[in-house]
């Protein structure tokens, strides 16, 4: 063992096979009540449609199930175990009261087609959250239907297209900065737009002169992330909006980094026409190993007629209802009304914070990122000296001279008991280390992280091979990803099958 900080110690972890390997006939973890209606003859009812066998589905007992999933869970790192500084992902604390209220009977069991007058509680939650998010973003209207951030982008660009179409010309392309998330260009393609790259300037921001040159009547919108993926606020955002609007284009904002703005600045006030939010980033709903998310899309008045249907309205009698008669709507983007369970959690988060708390959250997030920046400046290369907001991007320029790349540093960080930062993104930084601590981290945890990163930098100088071989303390060492992709094994099969 080389350097080690006090964050992590090795500990016994249980081995556990696949659930199918524990299965044997006769074991069961289920029990149905006695049938209170006559038995049926399934063969007679279903004929050739009757299924006779469920193949290799497991048969296991309840204690085995509890142990199986508990053992698996201990192989994961999580926010509950420590700082999770994945840049752009905003891995903040997921308050447990959110989980509690989302499971309250009546909310958890509400059927999407139950009568409107019996759905006033759910509608009130949708309406209250909508109002809060409109206020936070400074926009005019919102849809909560999209299921995740990328789905929100899709919805946003559908609105852009519908808007231009209503003016007689859908236009051809979307401008996207080279620092953007991969979902941006993928979404533009899904909506049938061509993608045109926009180069960043030497400060890591949108090059306004380049934008002016590239902007014309073929461009439907610019998709900008603000603060961008370098954690840098686009200081000329007003000019950018002006350039877009002057030629009839729209400004789309990817709200992935809204955690740097809540309570401090509102996209609606700096010229954004349409944006999505990630409730699972900014508003503390859990990431759950990769979802569910929720991606509300907020818009200015000019785009409101095109919002997906239904929209929630207040009826003349004061009750809430769904409005389906929206002739200009882009249609539905999802069945029912969106990831309602995430609305509950996000609203609980807003309640727990209030105006003061939301502002302080943002301040603490930015403070924490700058504290890390200061702590690691000089140890790791800082490719852009532009001030950081909620995240900071270093590069592996110094360490790569010894052959150690950002991914290697990340793997070594695992040994120190931290989840790695985001590696190799944004693409405009070669060998990027993108670090976002969020407001949740106390100074003690930040200090441990800084100490770990410094220690790894020393290890690179002393024994680069040791870092290249990391992680050393995990259950398994680095996995052969090439083999996994070349001959994909995507499911279990019995050995003699």
């Amino acid at each position: 063992m080389k350097h080690m900080t006090s964050k992590a110690t090795r500990h016994i972890s249980q081995n556990e096979g696949l659930i199918f390997e524990k299965s044997s006939p006769g074991k069961a973890a289920w029990k149905l009540p006695p049938l209170d209606v006559p038995e049926v003859d399934t063969a007679k009812l279903l004929g050739k449609q009757e299924r006779k066998d469920l193949g290799n589905m497991p048969e296991v007992s309840e204690i085995e199930i509890i142990r199986h999933f508990t053992r698996l869970s201990t192989w994961n790192y999580a926010i509950d175990l420590g700082m999770y500084p994945l840049g752009s992902c905003t891995m903040k604390y997921n308050p447990r009261v959110n989980e509690f209220v989302a499971r309250v009977e009546g909310l958890a069991n509400g059927h999407p087609y139950q009568a409107e007058k019996i759905s006033q509680g759910a509608l009130r939650i949708i309406k209250t959250l909508s109002d809060c998010l409109i206020e936070i973003t400074g926009m005019d209207a919102i849809t909560l239907q999209p299921a995740a951030g990328a789905h929100g982008e899709l919805t946003g660009l559908l609105l852009v297209r519908a808007y231009h179409q209503s003016k007689g010309n859908a236009r051809k392309k979307i401008l996207i900065p080279d620092s953007a998330h991969g979902t941006n260009p993928a979404t533009a393609a899904t909506v049938g737009y061509a993608v045109e790259n926009l180069k960043s300037n030497d400060r890591g921001m949108v090059d306004v002169a380049a934008l002016a040159a590239q902007m014309n009547e073929d461009v439907a919108a610019l998709m900008v992330t603000n603060p961008n993926t370098l954690g840098v606020f686009e200081q000329e955002i007003h000019k950018i909006a002006g350039l877009m609007h002057a030629k009839g284009g729209l400004l789309y904002m990817d709200g992935a980094n809204m955690n740097a703005l809540v309570g401090k600045a509102r996209p609606g006030d700096f010229g954004v026409d349409v944006m999505h939010l990630n409730l699972h980033k900014t508003f503390s709903t859990p990431h759950g190993g990769g979802g569910p998310g929720s991606g509300p899309v907020a818009v200015k008045k000019i785009l409101e007629p095109f919002l997906p249907k239904p929209v929630v309205i207040t009826k003349p009698d004061g009750t809430l209802g769904f409005e389906y008669n929206r002739p200009q709507s882009v249609g539905r983007v999802r069945a029912f009304y969106g990831n309602f369970g995430m609305f509950i959690r996000a609203l609980a988060y807003i309640f727990a914070n209030g105006p003061d708390g939301l502002r302080q959250t943002t301040e603490d997030a930015v403070l924490n990122a700058n504290y890390i920046r200061k702590g690691l400046e000089g140890v790791y290369d800082l490719p852009y000296s532009t001030p950081s907001m909620h995240e900071v991007v270093f590069s592996d320029k110094v360490q790569s001279k010894k052959g150690v790349k950002t991914m290697d540093l990340a793997k070594r960080l695992i040994d120190y008991g931290f989840h790695p930062y985001t590696t190799a993104f944004p693409l405009i930084v070669a060998g990027a280390l993108m670090i976002e601590p969020t407001e949740s981290e106390p100074k003690e945890e930040l200090d441990l992280f800084i100490e770990a990163m410094k220690s790894i930098a020393e290890e690179v100088e002393e024994d680069p091979q040791f870092v290249l071989d990391a992680p050393h303390n995990t259950r398994i060492s680095r996995l052969d990803e090439t083999a996994a992709a070349r001959k994909p094994v995507l499911r279990w099969k019995p050995e003699n099958a």
Binding site: L46, I118, A147, A189, A352, S477
Partner: protein
């Protein structure tokens, strides 16, 4: 910390934001609340939301029992508060769970492979159509009219901008897709036929016959499954090319429509055109078995505008609920569960048939059936609401030609006494409407 950074106040850190766009007032959102107030507020909302009602609603969102171990396990922080397992060495728990999920979904659907999840059944079906267009290089799709109406709406939204022309094939008096019409509609431009089975009316389709029609013209068959529990007793669509499933029935709360769990399953040869995350088995440098996210070159973070889909975050934690549910019921339990659903539905449909007309009786069904009443089903449902019962979903909104028909659903949670009460109330209203009609006849 301020001193370490070398600034005087936190506000200095916000100087990159031009002063004219900085917010200098408090946000107008509700004041900060204590935890007890938050809990009270949401409990109040729950009371206004049908708490304690009995329901006969299905139609893409099903009320099944959720074993308590599901929430006990998914609330473990290591599952709840972790991210997408990009760092495999530190996320083996999530990765192995996904691998098991993919295996069980493949087993149940009769497909070779399944992905880690999609947003829901509706967007999954739309992605499946786009996948079929990529595979066949053909532009259009034929959609069954008895596919969930909201799935069709979502499909329309997606297809419009992909320039995928959609044609529909209607249903017959058995509630099943009209095979003759389908045969005429499928042509050499058809990338796929998309059906649902059990379909929106609860009727089981003759998947083999439909597959034959599609395959004869070189089109793929996509089968959407909205009621996953049916797979316990109904033969899976083995002749399909893609299965687009909504797995909500497997342990996911109704939750007023979401979050749910879409999933795609397909044949091995199509896997590189399938969107969504995939966990694959591999070994570490010591030869030890482990799991990683694989075939990422299909995905947006690598391929950007050339990706198979723009999907990033999926429904991982919900897929874990589904996973645990499948593990709890397993090989025998799922079949017994499905059998109970079937038995309750047979009983209920027989009871309703004594007083009202049960439509589409000529084909096998799973746990939903369509009842036509003399009275408008909205009026019937208003009466039922007085007894704290949600009646069937009136179908007029989606199928004007079905007039006074409503879609009813029974699951293992529907008791005989609930059924008898609902049937009793419907028969009362039927009798009174009939009497009124007779009085009108006489006075005329």
């Amino acid at each position: 910390m301020l001193k370490a950074i070398g600034i005087r106040s936190v506000d200095d850190l916000f100087s990159p934001i031009p002063p004219e766009v900085r917010l200098t007032r408090d946000l107008t959102v509700p004041r900060q609340m204590a935890e007890s107030e938050i809990v009270d507020w949401f409990k109040q909302r729950a009371k206004e939301n049908g708490e304690g009602y009995t329901s006969f609603l299905g139609a893409g969102a099903y009320s099944h029992y959720r074993p308590v171990v599901i929430d006990a396990l998914v609330q473990r922080g290591e599952f709840l508060t972790s991210y997408t397992p990009y760092q495999a060495e530190f996320a083996q728990g999530t990765l192995q769970a996904i691998f098991e999920f993919q295996t069980m979904i493949s087993e149940l659907t009769g497909m070779d492979l399944a992905n880690a999840s999609m947003y829901d059944g509706s967007t999954g079906a739309a992605e499946a159509v786009m996948m079929a267009v990529r595979i066949t290089g053909r532009p259009s799709a034929v959609i069954a009219r008895n596919l969930h109406p909201e799935y069709r709406e979502v499909l329309n939204t997606y297809a419009t901008h992909q320039a995928i022309p959609l044609k529909t094939a209607s249903y017959t008096d058995t509630g099943q897709i009209d095979l003759k019409e389908l045969e005429k509609t499928v042509d050499d431009d058809t990338a796929c036929v998309l059906i649902q089975s059990p379909n929106f009316f609860g009727t089981i389709e003759d998947v083999e016959a439909i597959a034959e029609i599609a395959h004869k013209r070189g089109a793929l068959l996509i089968v959407s499954i909205a009621e996953a529990v049916s797979l316990g007793i109904v033969e899976p669509p083995r002749t399909a090319d893609i299965v687009a499933m909504e797995a909500q029935s497997f342990g996911v709360p109704l939750g007023f429509g979401g979050p749910y769990c879409g999933v795609l399953a397909t044949k091995e040869k199509f896997v590189r055109q399938m969107p969504g995350r995939l966990a694959g088995q591999t070994v570490d440098k010591n030869g030890k078995r482990g799991f990683v996210l694989t075939l990422a070159t299909r995905e947006q973070h690598i391929r950007r505008e050339k990706a198979t889909s723009n999907i990033c975050t999926n429904q991982a934690l919900v897929a874990l609920m589904v996973n645990i549910f499948m593990t709890v019921y397993g090989k025998i339990g799922l079949r017994e569960l499905a059998k109970q659903n079937l038995a309750k539905t047979v009983y209920a449909a027989d009871q309703f048939a004594k007083h009202a007309k049960v439509l589409f009786a000529g084909a096998p069904r799973f746990n939903e059936f369509v009842v036509e009443t003399s009275e408008d089903p909205y009026a019937v449902n208003s009466r039922l609401l007085g007894h704290k019962i949600f009646g069937g979903l009136p179908l007029k909104k989606f199928y004007p030609e079905l007039g006074h028909a409503a879609l009813w659903c029974c699951t293992e949670l529907t008791t005989r006494s609930m059924i008898d009460t609902a049937v009793g109330l419907v028969s009362e209203s039927e009798r009174s409407v009939r009497t009124m009609n007779e009085v009108e006849e006489v006075t005329r």
